[in-house]
Amino acid sequence: MDDVIKVKLIPIYILSRKYYVPEGSTIITAMEYAGFKLKKGVGCREGFCGACASIYRLPNDYKLHGGLGCQTVVQEDMQIVQIPYVPAPKAIYDLEELEPDPNIFLKYYPETYRCLSCNTCTKVCPQDLQVMDYVQAAIRGDIERVAELSFDCLSCGLCAARCPAEITQFNVALLGRRIYGKYLSKKGKFVEKRLKEIEEGKYEEGYKELMTLSKEDLKKRYFERDLNFEIT
């Protein structure tokens, strides 16, 4: 029986109940192994979508940790619960009509100014972002810094769930990145240039040719394509 792979099972607690799951599983795979059928609280399974926010505690540690279910490996006697959704106020605005004004966060998310600088948001962030620092940047109207510090935010919502000042950090950050992207970021000339080329029909012939190619030829073209095109 050489082809049998032996896997060590370790005890974990999901919603307070004990299960034995394969060592090395992520929270998501461990839950599925334990028989949970996940309809919410799971998405891309690659650490990008932010749907599988989870909180957990480890034995002999008072700290409450946050992690993405698909990226966090279970440990012995870990206590786990998923937080698939965090109710959050979401301001309605028309990006076309906004102005990159330093007081923009005051207008749409006034509760941001309740921040106590306690850093609880930073402690729980599964992306290891300096969440409190970007909230503070929002308070002082530094839109660029909000965008920069929150760039890797997945809107998992754990910051907002933990905040004692009841701020919705991830929506504040989203507003910041939107304004930064539309009004403040440096625009590359290549986009304008490429748009003009498309409008002038430069690629029409090429597209027509591609449509006639076989799957094999398309693959060949794809892998042989030039990656060093100019984007200045």
Binding site: P102, S117, D133, Q136, R140, G141
Partner: protein, 300 residues
């Protein structure tokens, strides 16, 4: 001299004119304000509840940043934080005093801030820019004056947070003179205002502008009775109330003549003949131009 500088949120938004002019004036006097990396809220407004320890996390975190600046060599053995906003000054200094006095409070706060590399070691001192200027030899300040205005009648307005409570105040809470001394060094005609420490109405402006307008009217008219032509202040909230409420005062007192309000650093920038970018006057509501044009003509 490099000194850690704590701006606070208002100086980055509504009071840019204060920050820009202060940095320029400091530079002229060989003082470099080094903005504290990753500074956060000062902790304003001081909480009046019994159990307010959580509100001291914000100030203490700023003190840790100053200690980090010393460790990282951004400043060398400089443990003072210089502030401009009177409210930030007050909140930071009150908190610092409490942390130095109450070790148990500090222990709890350090414990919550476990992500910080170091605990707060209580070696930071909170100062206001007026105190830094007081320590500079008057001759050095006088050397910088390119546009002397000995005729200009200026009255200082302290407000409350620079002076009260007594433990944090930069001068006598009843009869302060630190502002007057600076204005005399600057060669100006200093005018007394008996209401120089009276409350401007502070945050009441949010709920009832009329309360503030009425307080501001008293403060301004008392200065004007002593022939003041200009009022200088150091608090962004006092500035806002003294400056913007004049448009309401005119509605109730038809013969009221507006009087310009400047941050003391804006006035210093004018006297020092600094580049106009340093004044940021477009953010002042009451027109000041007439006054300075009159003075300039008079001196010719």
């Amino acid at each position: 001299m490099k000194i850690p500088y704590y701006p606070g949120c208002t100086l980055k938004t509504k009071a840019k004119n204060f920050e820009t002019s202060a940095i320029a004036v400091a530079k002229a006097l060989d003082i470099e304000f080094v903005e504290i990396p990753r500074w956060n809220c000062c902790g304003a407004v001081p909480s009046l509840s019994d159990d307010d320890l959580i509100r001291h996390i914000a100030p203490v975190r700023n003190f840790i940043r100053v200690e980090e600046m010393n460790q990282d060599g951004i400043v060398s053995d400089e443990h003072r934080i210089v502030t401009l906003c009177s409210m930030c000054f007050n909140t930071l200094k009150m908190s610092n005093l409490r942390m130095k006095k109450n070790k148990e409070d500090l222990r709890k706060i350090n414990d919550v801030m476990y992500l910080e590399k170091e605990h707060y070691k209580q070696d930071v001192e909170v100062v206001h820019f007026l105190e830094v200027l007081k320590d500079i030899p008057p001759s050095k300040i006088k050397e910088q004056i390119k546009n002397p205005m000995p005729e200009l009648k200026v009255s200082p307005y302290y407000g409350c947070t620079l002076l009260r409570p007594k433990e944090v105040g930069i001068d006598d809470p009843e009869d302060p003179l630190i502002f007057e001394d600076l204005l005399s060094t600057l060669g100006l005609n200093v005018v007394n205002n008996p209401l120089k420490t009276r409350c401007c109405g502070s945050y009441q402006v949010v709920s009832d502008k009329n309360i503030v307008s009425s307080l501001v009217y008293d403060i301004l008219t008392n200065a004007k009775k002593n022939e003041a032509e200009l009022i200088v202040t150091s608090c962004p909230l006092c500035f806002f109330n003294l400056d913007r409420r004049q448009k309401d005062i005119i509605k109730f007192h038809h013969n009221f003549e507006p009087i310009p309000i400047l941050y003391f650093t804006q006035l210093m920038a004018i006297l020092f003949g600094l580049n106009e970018d340093a004044f940021k006057f477009e953010e002042n509501y009451v027109d000041y131009k007439d006054l300075f044009e009159r003075k300039e003509l008079a001196s010719k």
